[in-house]
């Protein structure tokens, strides 16, 4: 039954541990409380019993049997038994033959009253001569009484005589109640204290699990590449396995890239041969080969991109420094476009990082910046900066002729049209748009105050 809900998978571990501990603590404390209060009451009653036995003994000593067989008892020298309804009483009685007792002599404190006698007492007494039998009763003043009775046979009289002594037990009861209250309150406080201790212990004990959860979440968010901390022996295998899984992911991504690259290499050289063979040949066959090779090239590029995009979504936790990529791209493109010449002015904070793979950022910025270099008159401006909420904005502008606003959609159209990919034609923005979307970013176009096109990228950012 407990397994039914407490151990159901998905239940909080903390709750499970705290529940078990509280059940155990509650049980232990209840038993302890019960034993303590019972013991206290028992020993109080035993003390009362001793007092009563003493009173009975005194009454026996004060009792004499007359020659005619009757008994006489001189009053005991105890002030409480002399004062009326004082709470301490004694009596001498004899069985009346009907299963009851007839009081012969009573203490002054009893007045005309008798000590109440349970119905089965005479029978019990008959079976245990000389032994004190104690029971609870109600006194002449309606006070709770503890009564002891003993059956004695006195010399000179054959019929047995019953001595009774009673004492008010309301003090004892009050003591017991007070003790019980104190005990339960103390145990309750102890229980609460223990529960708090258990809760803290569980929280502290499970701390490494929470840490591990945070680290894994950081990896997912890209704030960390691996699980770095040292964990207790119980969960360090788990951390190691997570790292192995991350490595494996990385491997798969790398392998996929390599395959894709090999495929490109394998297809592109033959295509070059076909293109070169057909170039300069005016025949119709050569024209067809030229056109179809261009179509094939476009198809190859398109499918390579798709494959790369699929491999990409696996890349966890990579961080790429943006200034480095901007620097290498600028150096390279300025060299390529040296005959213009082109001047690229890039600005980015040193700590700005891209939350993704270097190759992808190179692909995105390379295409955008190459495009700007192609169309600019002389100048290309790139500014990057964090925009808060884990995002960054990269703006690439040029001072070229720009583009009419109604053509923005056209040049960003997703997927590759073959003729867009032939060298020198098309803006190559489709691949940038694909990649940016794969990272949950956005590419928008607009006019630049330099005169040309302005491409605005939003991408996930991370500090490096």
């Amino acid at each position: 039954m407990a397994d039914g809900w407490l151990f159901r998978p998905g239940r909080s571990l903390t709750r499970r541990l705290v529940w078990l501990a509280s059940a155990w603590i509650a049980l232990a404390l209840i038993v302890t409380g019960a034993v303590l209060t019972y013991q206290f009451q028992e020993s109080a009653l035993r003390r009362l019993g001793n007092v009563l036995a003493e009173t009975i003994d005194e009454a026996v000593i004060a009792t004499t049997v007359m020659p005619d067989g009757t008994v006489q008892t001189t009053p005991i020298l105890d002030a409480r038994t002399l004062r009326l309804l004082s709470g301490k009483y004694w009596a001498v009685a004899e069985p009346d033959g009907n299963g009851g007792l007839r009081t012969l002599i009573r203490s002054a404190s009893l007045g005309n009253e008798s000590l109440a006698v349970p119905r089965d007492l005479p029978a019990q007494l008959a079976g245990a001569a000389g032994i004190n039998i104690t029971y609870n009763s109600v006194g002449p003043n309606d006070e709770p009484l503890r009564v002891a009775a003993s059956l004695k046979t006195l010399p000179g009289r054959s019929a047995p005589i019953v001595f009774l002594a009673g004492i008010d037990r309301s003090d004892i009861d009050a003591d017991a109640r007070q003790f019980a209250t104190l005990a339960w309150v103390t145990l309750g406080l102890l229980g609460i204290g223990l529960l708090i201790a258990v809760f803290l212990q569980v929280r502290i004990g499970l701390r490494p699990l929470y840490d591990l959860r945070d680290e894994i979440s950081n990896v997912r968010k890209g704030k960390a590449a691996r699980i770095e901390r040292t964990y207790p022996a119980e969960i360090s295998p788990l951390a190691a396995q997570v790292n192995r899984l991350l490595d494996h992911n990385q491997d798969v991504v790398e392998r996929q890239r390599t395959h894709v690259g090999n495929l490109a290499h394998a297809l592109k050289t033959p295509l070059s041969v076909m293109l070169a063979e057909a170039s300069g040949d005016p025949s119709q066959l050569a024209e067809i080969v030229r056109r179809q090779s261009d179509v094939m090239k476009g198809q190859v590029d398109h499918h390579l991109r798709r494959a790369r995009a699929a491999a990409r979504s696996q890349g966890l936790g990579e961080r790429t420094p943006v200034p480095e990529v901007l620097d290498e791209m600028s150096v390279m493109l300025e060299r390529v476009f040296q005959s213009k010449p082109v001047e690229i002015d890039w600005r980015a904070p040193d700590a700005l990082g891209f939350l993704g793979e270097r190759q992808d950022l190179q692909e995105i910025l390379g295409n955008l910046m190459e495009n700007a270099c192609k169309w600019c008159a002389r100048k290309v401006r790139v500014s990057a900066g964090a925009s808060g909420l884990g995002q960054m904005i990269v703006v690439v502008e040029d001072d070229g002729p720009g583009l009419a606003a109604d053509r923005y959609d056209e040049v960003m159209k997703r997927g590759a049209r073959a003729d867009e990919d032939t060298p020198g034609s098309g803006l190559g923005l489709a691949i940038v748009d694909d990649l940016t979307r794969a990272y949950g970013g956005r590419l928008t176009l607009g006019p630049s105050d330099l005169g040309g096109l302005k491409a605005i990228l939003s991408l996930p950012a991370a500090e490096v």
Binding site: S272, V273, A276, E277, M329, M332, R335, V336, R347
Partner: protein, 226 residues
């Protein structure tokens, strides 16, 4: 014009060779990295067309060796790997231009013409400052023989400072030589570029003279003969 064509594919080599010959180049052909390295090292070519995927030694390594030996011949890389990361590693090795396969022969010829036009600039003396060298003809700079990767703005800044080495140059003067009049010149610009150049050539080579500007000096212990 002498050209070295490095390409291992037989058909493509044959086609390119005839296209280049038709365009008026004297063509030498190498089919693997070893042969390419040897030819490039011994013959004075005007331009090189280098395929990256080569037997024996790959194209990037061949290029790196040439550049390390001080060869400044312009090199155009042919590669099937069109990813920007591949292009970047090619340029890091010292390439001047790239062409992704498959390409049109006309495109290749146009690029080669541009490369040759570029390298035909007037030769001027190499500038030196300690271990720092700058070759204005090839627009390349190096530190202790290691090629530097500079953007044109960084190059222009370094060039100006090397022409006026040892002298304190004010920020205003640097801004004027870095930018045309019409470009933005916020006050931080020079600090940004000085910072980047320092990162690339070594922090201590450019000294900040408080309130006056910057000064380029050889490192202490670096002799002029370096």
């Amino acid at each position: 014009m002498r050209i070295l064509l490095v390409e291992d594919d037989v058909d493509l080599s044959r086609q390119l060779k005839s296209a280049l010959s038709d365009a008026g180049y004297a063509v030498d052909h190498a089919a693997d990295g070893e042969e390419a390295h040897f030819l490039g090292d011994t013959e004075p070519y005007d331009v090189v067309v280098l395929d990256l995927g080569l037997p024996k030694i790959d194209g990037v390594s061949v290029l790196e060796r040439w550049r390390r030996d001080g060869k400044t011949t312009p090199v155009l890389i042919l590669t099937a790997r069109g990813a920007w990361s591949d292009k970047v590693s090619g340029f890091d090795a010292g390439a001047d231009d790239y062409l992704t396969k498959p390409f049109h022969t006309e495109e290749l010829l146009a690029r080669l013409r541009a490369l040759l036009r570029r390298s035909a600039g007037i030769a001027s003396a190499t500038l030196a400052c300690g271990g720092l060298r700058l070759d204005p003809r090839a627009a390349r700079a190096s530190v202790n023989g290691e090629p530097l990767r500079l953007t044109s703005l960084e190059y222009r800044l370094l060039h100006y400072m090397m022409m006026h080495q040892g002298r304190v140059i004010s920020r205003t003067e640097l801004v004027e030589h870095l930018y045309d009049q019409d470009f933005d010149r916020d006050s931080n610009t020079i600090e940004v570029f000085i910072g980047r150049v320092r990162k690339k050539i070594g922090t201590d080579r450019i000294e900040t003279v408080r309130g006056l500007g910057y000064r380029l000096t050889p490192l202490t212990g670096e002799s002029e003969a370096a």
